[in-house]
């Protein structure tokens, strides 16, 4: 049984319009997405802006209402209304922007203790003790407990965000572009640290990112989204060594190489992909420019291709 299983997830947002502001259509932000994550692994969800990757993550935590589909967490369905046990305590989220995701008027103590206050009845002393431990765990000095977010750098803020996320000892963390707003050197600090606590706490990550380099470094399995649908999914090796879908190839081709000697090679590769994209667009996208359903290429590797194969 999978740890987290998402089946045919759809999240549609209504479009209002006309004279009386009626619903005249829907933006299909997530349009039939399925995947599974095993415990202790890192699953990468990759896509460009508008691909629906963030909406998927938010739907799992319950921040976006689900239009259709099923999310099962440790065998229990998540999206049933009026359920007694709230599994969300086990699932926490880390946000992209460490500058706006922390309330500037609250002290670190209150920020980190917030989930504890929602779910656990602790005395003030116990609570302080827990926050101390958490800060230590994320590598911040316990003196920072009384400081405000603006007194920290971006990387440190992201650590505060992580401390808040792990306060309830969650099992699954949804990290939405956790390092996109950070400088390269700080990015490395946060990524290393995320790997450390993953081992320490046996965490499972759903790692949402647009940066294939980072995803390659962090993730075991990867799903690639385009306009609300999956175009390809598989292990890291599947995706990077033998990308099948033209969109995946375009993404891989677009990453700048840090070796200046490969410049020409890379440019040529990009042109080849572009030519293929223009010539065989219809083989990969339907009339609406959306991806087809997934077909399996190997045990682990799924690609969105038309039925006839």
């Amino acid at each position: 049984m999978a740890f987290l299983k998402v089946e045919d997830l759809k999240v549609h947002f209504p479009i209002k319009g006309g004279l009386f502001n009626r619903t005249i259509g829907a933006i299909k932000a997530v349009d039939g997405v399925s995947f599974e994550i095993e415990q202790g692994k890192t699953y990468g969800l990759v896509g460009e802006s508008g691909s629906g990757k963030t909406t998927t993550g938010r739907a799992i935590v319950g921040l976006n209402e689900i239009t259709e589909g099923k999310i099962t967490y440790e065998g229990e369905e998540l999206n049933i209304k009026g359920k007694a046990i709230d599994p969300r305590r086990d699932i926490q989220m880390i946000f992209q922007d460490p500058y706006s995701s922390l309330n500037p008027k609250k002290r670190v103590l209150d920020i980190v203790a917030e989930p504890l206050r929602n779910y656990e009845k602790l005395s003030r002393k116990e609570e302080r003790q827990r926050v101390h431990e958490l800060l230590e765990q994320v590598g911040l000095s316990p003196e920072s407990i009384l400081k405000y977010p603006h007194e920290f750098s971006g990387g440190q803020r992201q650590r505060i965000g992580v401390a808040r996320a792990i306060a309830l000892k969650p099992k699954l963390i949804i990290a939405d572009e956790p390092v996109s707003a950070l400088d390269v050197s700080v990015q490395a600090q946060v990524l290393n640290f995320m790997q450390d606590i993953q081992k320490e706490l046996n965490l499972t990550y759903l790692f949402i990112s647009h940066d294939l380099g980072i995803v390659k470094h962090m993730c075991d399995e990867i799903g690639i989204m385009y306009k609300g649908r999956y175009v390809e999914s598989g292990t890291k090796q599947d995706i990077f060594n033998s990308p099948q879908h033209i969109y995946t190839k375009r993404l891989v081709a677009a990453i700048p190489d840090i070796d200046p000697k490969k410049r020409e090679e890379k440019k040529q590769f990009r042109q080849e992909v572009q030519t293929e994209y223009e010539q065989s667009y219809n083989d990969y996208f339907d009339n609406e420019g959306l991806a087809y359903g997934l077909q399996s290429v190997s045990d682990t590797h799924l690609v969105a291709l038309p039925e006839k194969g």
């Binding site: 990015q187 294939l212 390659k216 700048p256």
Partner: protein, 338 residues
């Protein structure tokens, strides 16, 4: 003068915070040749954007010392009227965020036309419109006539950046400064925009200063690279030399902290500490020394100068010869294999 297009000498750009001036750009000397792409790499707070703004004369309240020689003028000491003649005509700039860099209340075509109007006063409105449509074509906008009258919010991020680029190249500038031109864009769009800038460069024979935090972008685009840290250039070299043989500990750290393309090493290299804020910059000794715990005592004392190690390769470090990172030997092996 020789083939140098731009020559910056001992530039110091300082901002006033409370009662004191703090130098965001401190003693920068560099040159840009015609038809050359100079990449300037640094993290936020390194002073790379402040440098670009100084060259364009866009700082309103900063104190600027030193010289910026461009086309018989010294932009560090220039009258506003003369500066306005140069800006948008002989030198132009591409900005980071294409949404905020466009006036939301003006049709995008008019915004490009403004750049032409300001420098070619004898053109008729109709000629100008035709010229703008040509430019839109050139930057790869599919329906230029239609797009001319659209407003920024109707266009996608990539299209907006093309508008910004069209504005910048409207008068065939000799110097083009691109400040993080692709940071706000998606990867596939980034690749398209970079290709566009490269093509335009061939076309225009201009010198380009490309400012970015992304080493990958620099590796793809630049002929020469300057690495900035805490307001100073710490290393400058031909792009191949810099990536093959980085000398300054900071450059090496930056390269090591990138997730590697080839094989995922278990751990990324981490630079200790954070980029110091403008007010807290160490003004004495090597500015990066504080972030290397095992550095020699002397690094905190001497003010290293930028000096030439091999032809064209300059570094601002006294200890790069015998400097090592504890985890570097392992990586060198890995690099050797690949």
């Amino acid at each position: 003068m020789s083939k140098e297009l731009l020559e910056i000498k001992n530039l110091k750009t300082s901002f006033r915070i409370k009662d004191d001036y703090y130098a965001a750009v401190d003693d920068v000397t560099l040159t840009l040749n015609k038809n050359e792409v100079l990449g300037i790499v640094g993290e936020s707070g390194s002073g790379k954007s402040a440098l670009a703004f100084s060259v364009m004369g866009l700082h309103n309240r900063a104190k600027i010392e030193g010289n910026i020689h461009f086309k018989d003028a010294d932009i560090a000491n220039i009258s506003p009227a003369k500066l306005n003649k140069l800006r948008g005509d002989d030198m132009a700039m591409i900005f980071q965020d294409p949404l905020t860099a466009l006036n939301p209340l003006m049709p995008v075509g008019d915004q490009i036309a403004e750049a032409i109007l300001l420098h070619k006063k004898d053109m008729s409105t109709k000629q100008r419109r035709n010229k703008v449509v040509d430019l839109l074509n050139k930057v790869g906008i599919p329906r230029p006539e239609h797009t001319y009258d659209q407003f920024p919010h109707e266009l996608s991020g990539g299209m907006r950046q093309r508008i910004i680029i069209a504005t910048a190249i409207a008068n065939q500038p000799e110097l083009l400064i691109a400040d993080e031109p692709t940071t706000a864009l998606d990867v596939t769009i980034q690749a398209q925009i970079l290709d566009l800038i490269r093509d335009l460069k061939e076309d225009m024979n201009a010198g380009i200063i490309l400012i970015t935090h992304d080493l990958g972008v620099v590796a793809e685009m630049a002929d020469r690279v300057a690495v900035m840290y805490a307001g100073q250039i710490v290393e400058i070299a031909e792009v191949g030399a810099l990536f093959d043989n980085p000398l300054h500990p900071y450059t090496r750290s930056l390269l090591n902290s990138m997730p590697s393309e080839d094989e995922a090493q278990d751990k990324l290299h981490v630079i200790q500490g954070i980029v110091p804020s403008l007010q807290n910059l160490p003004r004495k000794g090597c500015r990066f020394a504080a972030r290397i715990p095992w550095v020699e005592e002397s690094a905190h004392e001497e003010n290293p100068e930028l000096h030439e190690v091999t032809p064209g390769h300059f570094v601002r470090c006294t200890c790069h010869n015998h400097f090592y990172f504890p985890d570097e030997s392992k990586e060198e092996q890995a690099n050797g294999v690949s």
